[in-house]
């Protein structure tokens, strides 16, 4: 179904009946798309020309009953994934120490990198010589993928993973790079991938938020840029990510006040909805107002659905042990990964979990002590993420769930000077992997140069990466658009972006 199909707005007030001024082709398209006629739409919505614009905003599949911007919608073509879990390695893990094996770097350990621009990273005054990976590497799985000893659990799942070794980005600092990775633009305020996906596909769950974000529960902070990383930008705000509180109740105030029983609360919400709808019918279109009406209904349903969904203690013992729930080093992250699985199981469209807190030693941002930093964060993430893959697979969910591992940039092959050397930011190369959702395991796409400094072969820009995620979900990145400020805005912007078809089966 073509999102570009427009419902022609009548130029004369009388022309509300579909046959009038509507071509035969459009009528057939409307019928084929299962869309309501404009008259039906206006009747159901209680009048107002603005609703036509709202309806075309939603595209097809306007459901019976009040218009719901989160109603599930068909993709552009048959995709292979229905939902996404993105493990965001915050701070920028080092590719040459995690997934990009570079024996040449070991050979040149201790030598200067000739011609290196000291301003590549963030600290021009701290540039050291080339530094080999201090971790042990070996080949794993049938694919023979080189894995570092940071990830013993993921090494056993390695044949599920498709690697892109040639990612690169446009900024060498966290906030703009985070915005780039999440929204495709280094400046703040643009819609993120999760918002575009929810805008394009709606949600399969009417009782949980469609797009959920989890961040560090150990008081190490939020990713830089905070909620701008999961914001809806100029898309209707109904598509923004719901950030779950990392400690205590993930969503506050799920319980009604003591005096309100079910029936009395329902009566309140019914009165509220009816008054709000009358107000909306009488005023100019604002899809924000419509979305706000719907948000109370979602909140009502969430009262029952959310506590159940977040309660990982309901999982059987063997599953909790698989993820590492209760383990000192990874229990916190295990709970989040298990929650992510429970979310997608219940129809949540997009889940993003941030590994690590804000920066430096609180995240993968190993300016100092590469070994300590990466051993620590890998220990937090390895078992839970590997368990997530295995668990999704055994439930038959992996084929429908695109799992992503990616951070905002990579790290330099030269050391950053200090008592315990680290590595500085590197926008020119990082590795991401994807699994599930139609991805072909064992694929290694793209290469960096022999020391892992720059993406060199089959480079994949962040826009290409986004196009690829949308493709997995059956969305054409050139068709998924939203009119804003006179432009058909797209996640992948104006320049050509390429789907990395090679990673799909």
């Amino acid at each position: 179904m073509n999102l570009r199909m427009r419902i022609e707005l009548p130029t004369r007030a009388r022309a509300f009946q579909p046959p009038f001024g509507v071509s035969e082709i459009t009528k057939r398209q409307l019928e084929a798309a299962g869309t309501m006629s404009r008259r039906q739409l206006l009747q159901r919505a209680g009048g107002g020309l603005g609703w036509l614009a709202f309806a075309s905003l939603l595209g097809r599949n306007a459901t019976a009953g009040p218009l719901n911007p989160l109603a599930p919608r068909a993709s552009h073509f048959a995709g292979t994934a229905k939902s996404v879990i993105w493990i965001f390695a915050n701070g920028g893990p080092s590719q040459v120490d995690t997934w990009d094996y570079k024996p040449e770097l070991a050979k040149r350990d201790g030598t200067e990198l000739a011609g290196f621009d000291n301003k590549t990273g963030f600290f021009p005054g701290s540039v050291g010589p080339l530094m080999k990976s201090p971790f042990a590497w070996e080949q794993s799985g049938q694919s023979g993928t080189w894995t570092s000893d940071l990830f013993p659990h993921l090494a056993r799942q390695v044949d599920k993973l498709a690697f892109i070794h040639s990612c690169f980005t446009n900024s060498n600092n966290h906030s703009p790079a985070l915005f780039m990775m999440n929204t495709g633009v280094t400046r703040m305020g643009y819609p993120c991938v999760g918002s575009w996906v929810t805008y394009g596909l709606g949600s399969e769950s009417d009782a949980l938020p469609s797009f959920v974000v989890m961040s560090d529960p150990l008081n190490r902070g939020l990713p830089k840029g905070n909620a701008l990383n999961w914001g809806a930008g100029f898309l209707p705000s109904v598509y923004q990510g719901t950030w779950l509180k990392p400690q205590g109740e993930p969503i506050a105030n799920l319980k009604p006040p003591a005096n309100l029983n079910e029936q009395r609360q329902r009566a309140q919400l019914d009165l509220l909805a009816s008054l709000n709808r009358d107000h909306l019918a009488g005023s100019a279109l604002d899809h924000e107002l419509g979305a706000r009406i719907e948000s109370f209904e979602l909140a009502y349903r969430m009262q029952a659905a959310a506590p159940e969904a977040f309660d990982v203690s309901r999982e059987p013992e063997h599953i909790r042990r698989l993820y590492g729930i209760g383990e000192k080093h990874c229990g916190h992250f295990a709970a989040q990964c298990l929650t992510a699985r429970r979310m997608v199981e219940r129809g949540v469209r997009f889940v993003q979990v941030y590994s690590g807190g804000m920066e430096n030693q609180q995240s993968w941002d190993c300016h100092s002590d590469l070994i300590g930093n990466h051993r620590g964060f890998a220990a937090e993430a390895d078992q839970p993420v590997a368990a997530l893959l295995a668990d999704l697979e055994q439930r038959g969910l992996l084929k429908d769930t695109l799992v992503i591992w990616a951070g905002e940039f990579g790290r330099l092959p030269v050391s950053q000077k200090g008592g315990k050397p680290g590595r500085d930011h590197n926008p020119h190369a990082f590795t991401a992997w994807l699994a599930g959702g139609g991805v072909r395991g064992g694929v290694h796409y793209g290469e960096t140069d022999e020391i892992g400094f720059r993406a060199a072969v089959n480079k994949v820009s962040v826009r290409d990466f986004h196009a690829t995620i949308l493709h997995a979900l059956g969305l054409d990145h050139e068709q998924l658009a939203f009119k804003f400020q006179g432009l058909d805005q797209r996640l992948t912007g104006v320049e050509r972006a390429r789907v990395v078809k090679e990673i799909f089966a």
Binding site: P257, R264, A267, Q268, S274
Partner: protein, 91 residues
């Protein structure tokens, strides 16, 4: 919807409406609440909806033998007013 802060404000607003009308007259309370919250009179339709809501909430509280049933019902209504788009957004 469930925030304790909003509930407190709704209760305080209800007490104010009760204080500024006399005799516990429901139509007068509805009128006063609309005037304070939305700077306008309630339409006839809104009066009817609000009165019906107050009546049914009150009976529900009375059935549970709550001594301040009418006040609780009014607070529920005030909480609804705070939830309105018209209340939340300036035009």
């Amino acid at each position: 919807m469930n925030g304790p802060q909003v509930r407190e404000w709704a209760e305080a607003f209800a007490r104010r409406v009760e204080a500024e009308t006399s005799g516990g007259e429901v139509p007068a309370q509805i009128k006063r609440a609309y005037l304070l919250a939305l700077s306008r009179s309630a339409t006839a339709k809104e009066q009817v909806s609000a009165a019906a809501f107050l009546a049914s909430q009150t009976s529900s509280y009375v059935a549970e033998k709550k001594p301040n049933a009418t006040h609780l019902a009014l607070a529920d209504f005030c909480q609804v007013l705070f939830g309105l788009n018209e209340f939340a957004y300036e035009n």
